[in-house]
């Protein structure tokens, strides 16, 4: 196995401020202490790099990917070899999905940090019209920076968009005068996680599902009550069903059934696609059907239920 190559990934649409941010990063002596850096650029905006101002210009090697076909393991490996690079700073093309990078980058490339840079002036419009690309990048980034944020911007709107996708990433606003402000809007979950029975309203299912998937330990040993649709599968052991709902993240094309395993009495009469209100205890454990550790429910009570008003769950 070749040595691990750390990748610093910068995402976001054209004119989001990626180049400027990378330029500043490469000017910072603390980030540039002699590592040989492959600066991989997949987009050519207005802003251009000025290597003369890099902290360690002789150790930065810029390569341009003109076309997504160049994003392939063989070519990327050859670039690392050519420059004897220790790490990669990657300015990704805003119109490419990240999955394409994950599928095509060499196995020894490891994403260390992921930043998303956006122009505050176009972000909301781009989000409405190219939601899939926005969700794709927000999903995994650690911080999203909204550049050129005027004083009057509606931070709630930005916050909602980001938090609708990710509860983890930090949100920063960079104002035209260069000052940076962090988003400190708290979003309490819309259900009480310390209640004896954590009750999930129909409209909060998607949010709850994402939360329990991201941080299952938080729910270990607790009791939850929610409404979901049963799914039976002949591969499941007797008394095991899945309970979940169809969840839409972005648009109709990405609707998926998202469910948790739930142990019910073996003599149950639950049929496939029955709607149920389930009260169950959560145990986080290894389960072959999860192919790893996940929250497994044990039903304490279950009863037939009417389908929710809006059958497909969304992040509102």
């Amino acid at each position: 196995m070749p040595k691990e190559i750390p990748v610093y990934l910068f995402t976001g649409f054209l004119e989001g401020g990626k180049t400027k941010f990378i330029q500043e990063t490469l000017e910072d002596p603390r980030f540039n202490e002699g590592d040989r850096t492959l600066l991989l650029v997949c987009e050519e905006g207005e802003e251009e790099f000025d290597p003369s101002r890099f902290a360690d210009p002789q150790n930065v090697f810029m390569e341009l990917l003109e076309d997504i076909s160049q994003l392939n393991e063989v070519y990327l490996t050859s670039l690392v070899k050519k420059h004897k690079a220790d790490r990669v700073v990657l300015e990704y093309n805003g119109m490419w999905m990240l999955q394409q990078l994950y599928n095509r980058m060499p196995d020894n490339w490891i994403i260390y940090q992921e930043f998303m840079l956006c122009d505050a002036n176009t972000f909301l419009s781009y989000n409405q019209n190219m939601r899939q690309l926005v969700v794709d990048k927000l999903n995994s980034c650690e911080i999203v920076v909204f550049n050129r944020a005027g004083a009057g911007i509606d931070k709630d709107a930005f916050h909602r968009v980001v938090r609708g996708v990710s509860r983890r990433c930090d949100i920063a606003y960079e104002h035209p005068d260069g000052s940076v402000e962090y988003d400190d809007i708290e979003d309490p979950l819309p259900f009480d996680i310390d209640a004896p029975v954590i009750t999930i309203e129909d409209r909060d299912f998607a949010l709850w599902y994402r939360d329990i998937s991201e941080e299952p330990k938080k729910y270990d040993g607790k009791t939850v009550k929610f409404k979901g649709m049963a799914a039976l599968d002949k591969r499941f052991p007797k008394g095991m069903i899945a309970v979940g709902r169809f969840v839409m993240t972005c648009c109709e094309a990405d609707i998926q059934y998202m469910s948790l395993l739930c142990q019910v009495p073996k003599d149950n009469r639950i049929k496939h696609k029955d709607w149920l209100t389930v009260t169950a205890r959560v145990t986080v454990k290894n389960h072959p059907l999860y192919q790893g550790v996940g929250p497994v429910l044990t039903a304490l009570e279950y009863a037939p239920a009417a389908a929710p008003e809006q059958e497909v769950a969304t992040f509102y």
Partner: protein
């Protein structure tokens, strides 16, 4: 009969602003339906549209991953059946291909509706960057447009604008192109462009036909007004009926000549006349069947009245440029105003007038040297 006009263009190009302008000034009197498949930055204000008798049908699939064909056909049918509008304006997603929208409309099989213009709005300041980075859908919008309207050209560096036009022309050399800042144009002018009634070809053809008719005519009527001053008038009949052609110069505050030929309507309005000339046809007469050559150019170059005057007077040099019979143009002046000119040998007429869609130059003559003429006007 319903006409369907499509307005494509990337997000932020200014589609909504353009549509608003056309609704306020251009489409008035027509019953309109607007179908939006994009979430605009400047939301079209419902009240504004209702006042204008416009209905909006929003489509929810404003996302590139959703197919628009099924929804589109359904929306179109509903709209036509419910409202029988004169016109349907479609604002598709800014990140979609124009050809997909055209195909979707065609395959919707809408009896009683015809396709009008396919317009693409492009931010002139970003053509180069978007073309390079967006590739396919962006080029598709340029390539399939019948009219390309550049936005944000005001105050743009002349060379940069020229470069943007060149890039666009590499991908579409047929579309009618508007480079003039929109506030200088009337909605009606833009609609003429969209309806393909104002193309360089049409202007050249009209000028060629005019020239041919004049040259074929034995007798010219001259009106002598104000003593020595005469104006170039067209009282003779024009019997070419293929082309329609409108010249609206200025505010029509001067003397105005109306010719009420049914098919051929043509106004010359001379405002701000500085010098009058006598248009006497002493020069060679050509027979109508003689083949003229025409030279036409679109240009975003800025001129001065002096540079036009000297170019027109140079045109008399037959050895150098060929035998020039007519020249005509509307070009932008360095001060942002517009220069209109008409030329018959020895008789240049230069005046100020309203903005053209883009700068246009037409020269008609026999054995003309196009390269020399292009160089003369600096439009090589």
């Amino acid at each position: 009969m319903t006409t369907i006009d499509i307005f494509s263009g990337f997000l932020g190009a200014g589609k909504t602003t353009l549509i608003k302008k056309l609704i306020a000034d251009g489409y008035q009197g027509q019953q309109l339906v607007l179908i939006e498949n994009e979430f605009g930055e400047i939301g079209i204000d419902g009240g504004f549209l209702q006042d204008a008798g416009i209905r909006i049908n929003e489509m929810n699939s404003g996302c590139i991953c959703c197919s628009l064909v099924g929804d589109f056909a359904k929306a179109l049918h509903q709209v036509i059946e419910a409202y029988h509008p004169d016109r349907i304006l479609i604002e598709p997603s800014g990140v979609g291909k124009l050809s997909d929208v055209i195909r979707a409309v065609q395959s919707a099989d809408t009896a009683g509706a015809v396709l009008g213009g396919f317009t693409t709005v492009a931010d002139a300041t970003k053509v180069k960057m978007y073309m390079k980075n967006f590739g396919e859908f962006y080029l598709n919008q340029i390539e399939h447009a019948s009219t390309i309207i550049l936005s944000r050209t005001q105050g743009m560096d002349e060379k940069k604008l020229q470069a943007a036009v060149q890039l666009i022309r590499q991908h579409n050399d047929k579309a009618t192109l508007i480079t003039t800042p929109w506030d200088q144009l009337s909605g009606a002018q833009i609609l003429e462009a969209i309806a393909q009634k104002s193309t360089l070809e049409a202007e050249l053809a009209a000028l060629a036909a005019e020239t041919a008719a004049e040259e074929a005519q034995e007798h010219h009527h001259h009106h002598h007004e104000d003593g020595a001053c005469c104006c170039h008038e067209h009282e003779h009949e024009h019997d070419h009926d293929e082309h329609e052609h409108h010249h609206e110069h200025g505010e029509h505050d001067g003397h105005e000549h109306h010719h009420d030929h049914d098919e051929h309507e043509h106004h010359h309005d001379h405002d701000g006349h500085e010098h009058c000339c006598c248009h006497d046809h002493d020069h060679h007469h050509h027979h109508a069947d003689e083949v003229f050559t025409s030279f036409g150019r679109e240009t975003t170059r800025k001129f001065t009245r002096e540079s036009i005057a000297s170019a027109l007077s140079a045109l008399q040099d037959e050895a150098r440029y060929g035998q020039i019979l007519r020249a005509k143009g509307i070009v932008q002046a360095e001060d942002g105003s517009w220069i209109h000119f008409d030329y018959v040998p020895g008789c240049p007429d230069i005046r100020s007038g309203s903005a053209g869609l883009t700068g246009r130059l037409c020269v008609i003559g026999a054995k003309i040297d196009e390269a020399a003429i292009a160089a003369l006007f600096g439009v090589e």
